[in-house]
């Protein structure tokens, strides 16, 4: 019970601080604007005629730029709990009875929710536009929620948690560079251009290609590569569920690893 109180406190107040600070907005405003402009002009996003497919494509586009932007902005979330720039604060938090794991989760989750809010706003606007231009309200709303829950949020979670974990191992600036590289390697690496192994177009890709293809009428090529392999089966519903679970599981594993690393440091 006290643990939940402490978690709620961390989420609320860390969110408030992130919202009042500049860092999050310096990263998110350009990322959202860039996605917005690209999406409007693109035939495979804003130009799609199927409203549900359009929503799925928008979600993947927004995730492409906003997840790494969030990861860069929130990379210091775990390291600040161990050795804050601000003297005494890490120690003061540590002197309270709550669990360190919950403090980590809250310190990330609160600001993440704030950072995702402009993405949710754009996605909502896309849904409204889809409904107005002929889509039925029900399916459009459903598509918006599926897009948010299975594409945007898991992608943002996995990107921010790995960034926050990395800052416990390497300096924050290095972690930011590494996470951006990792992100585009695991989501968009074109193997015809660069013949290296990649997570892009596999079940492990955090871009959300599988849920988009399985549930949001996206082209199957967003999910699996050609030819489909053991890591990139055709985008059926079970495959999409597995993909979302893998991405969320990876985020949880990053948090658990960060907790273990933090424990060793103490």
């Amino acid at each position: 019970m006290a643990g939940m109180t402490a978690l709620a406190g961390t989420v609320v107040h860390e969110a408030r601080m992130a919202q009042r600070g500049r860092v999050l907005w310096l990263a998110m405003v350009p990322a959202v604007l860039l996605s917005f402009v690209l999406g409007l002009g693109s035939p495979v996003v804003g130009g799609l005629t199927d409203p549900v497919a359009r929503i799925g494509a928008w979600a993947m586009l927004l995730t492409t730029f906003c997840a790494p932007a969030l990861a860069v902005a929130l990379a210091d979330r775990f390291s600040r709990l161990l050795h804050s720039r601000r003297p005494g604060l890490a120690e003061l938090l540590e002197s309270t009875p709550g669990s360190g794991t919950l403090r980590m989760i809250g310190t990330l989750a609160g600001p993440l929710a704030v950072g995702l809010s402009p993405v949710a706003v754009v996605l909502a606007a896309v849904c409204v536009a889809a409904a107005v231009t002929g889509g039925a309200a029900g399916p459009v709303l459903g598509a918006g929620l599926v897009a948010l829950g299975t594409i945007v949020v898991p992608g943002a979670l996995v990107a921010t948690t790995i960034a926050a974990l990395l800052t416990l191992l390497v300096p924050v600036a290095a972690a930011r560079v590494v996470v951006v590289a990792l992100w585009f390697w695991s989501t968009h690496l074109n193997t015809e251009l660069l013949a290296v192994p990649t997570l892009a177009r596999t079940l492990f890709s955090p871009l959300g290609g599988y849920p988009a293809a399985a549930w949001l009428h996206a082209s199957p090529s967003w999910a699996s590569g050609s030819p489909p392999g053991i890591l990139s089966p055709p985008p059926t519903t079970p495959a999409a569920l597995l993909s979302v679970a893998l991405v969320l599981g990876a985020a949880a594993a990053f948090v658990a690893t960060a907790r273990a690393v933090a424990g060793l440091r103490a």
Binding site: M1, A2, T5, A6, A8, G9, T10, V12, H13, R16, M17, R20, G21, S84, R86, P87, G88, L89, E91, L92, L93, E94, S95, T96, P97, G98, R103, A266
Partner: protein, 294 residues
């Protein structure tokens, strides 16, 4: 509540020994912790607060063993801790900062939280600044905000590391009155370089020198270390090699110095010692001959 410290040692990386074989028992009430810069006061307090692990020895706080995670949590439930240096979150207001810490301490009732926050802000003289961002506070105001968070949740164990550093005289007096007014069965450990703080508020005192405990006992006992050894003498009189000059005061007819001395120079007039003299006498003895009262 009783704190028992046995054979406590802390060696930081690169073999820097901050605490060495400290044995100490503390009972309810206020204990002042004195010692030169680097003596190990902060290290000891951080161990007692459960945020730093010792490398030797053991600590029992109210029967809870700090070596176990359950013991640390139990102690943290009744703890109010003020680190020596405490920054604030610049983007939170004073009231929000206190609300955050109150939630972390598990105070889940919203009304109770608001009442405590308001009350404590008043107690440290920040009632009018409750809704100002803490980033705009002066150093002394930040210190007072730190003091206020220490008292959230009515803790039974209070560990404050140089709480009055940077406070103006009026605020320092207010702080003393605040501590004195807490009452109840509480254990307060207060480190400071301001001997007056201890003389005014702490019936008991412990002194660390280079990581070792050189005195533990009543504050009067420490004052007594300079009994018969405190003198006032004209500044023109040459002092002995082991005499320690405590202070000097200029008068119309010349300057007089206050010294702690085992063999006073001619013309020295004995005066009753203060805590400062006792502390000087203790250091003069290198802590060796001092009574270590238990």
């Amino acid at each position: 509540m009783q704190i028992t410290i046995e054979g406590l040692g802390k060696t930081y990386g690169k073999g820097r020994r901050a605490l060495d074989g400290v044995d100490l028992r503390l009972d309810s009430g206020m204990t002042g912790l004195l010692g030169a810069n680097g003596a190990g006061k902060t290290t000891l307090m951080r161990i007692l607060a459960g945020v730093l692990r010792p490398t030797a020895g053991r600590v029992l706080v109210g029967g809870h063993d700090l070596a176990t995670s359950a013991g640390r949590i139990a102690v943290k439930r009744m703890l109010g801790y003020l680190p020596q240096e405490l920054a604030v979150y610049p983007d939170l207001t004073a009231a929000e900062f206190l609300d955050y810490i109150a939630l972390l301490k598990g105070i889940d009732d919203r009304q109770a939280r608001r009442r405590q926050v308001e009350h404590l802000l008043g107690q440290v003289g920040l009632a009018d600044d409750a809704n100002r961002r803490a980033g705009t506070f002066s150093a002394g105001m930040r210190r007072r905000l730190g003091i206020a968070q220490t008292l959230l949740g009515d803790p039974r164990l209070i560990i404050v590391d140089e709480p009055t550093a940077g406070l103006d005289p009026q605020e320092r007096m207010r702080f003393r009155a605040l501590l004195a007014g807490l009452g109840g069965d509480r254990t307060v450990i207060l480190s400071t370089h301001i001997l007056d703080d201890v003389a005014q508020s702490c019936p008991r005192v412990a002194v660390l020198t280079a990581g070792r405990l050189v005195f533990a006992g009543t504050t009067e006992g420490l004052v007594g270390a300079a009994a018969g050894r405190t003198f006032v003498v004209d500044s023109r009189v040459p002092l002995g090699r082991d005499d320690v000059l405590v202070n000097a005061t200029a008068f119309a007819d010349g300057t007089r110095v206050r010294i702690v001395s085992t063999g006073p120079p001619p013309g020295a007039r004995p005066v009753p010692p203060t805590l400062e003299d006792g502390y000087v006498a203790l250091l003069q003895d290198g802590g060796v001959t001092a009574e270590v009262a238990r």
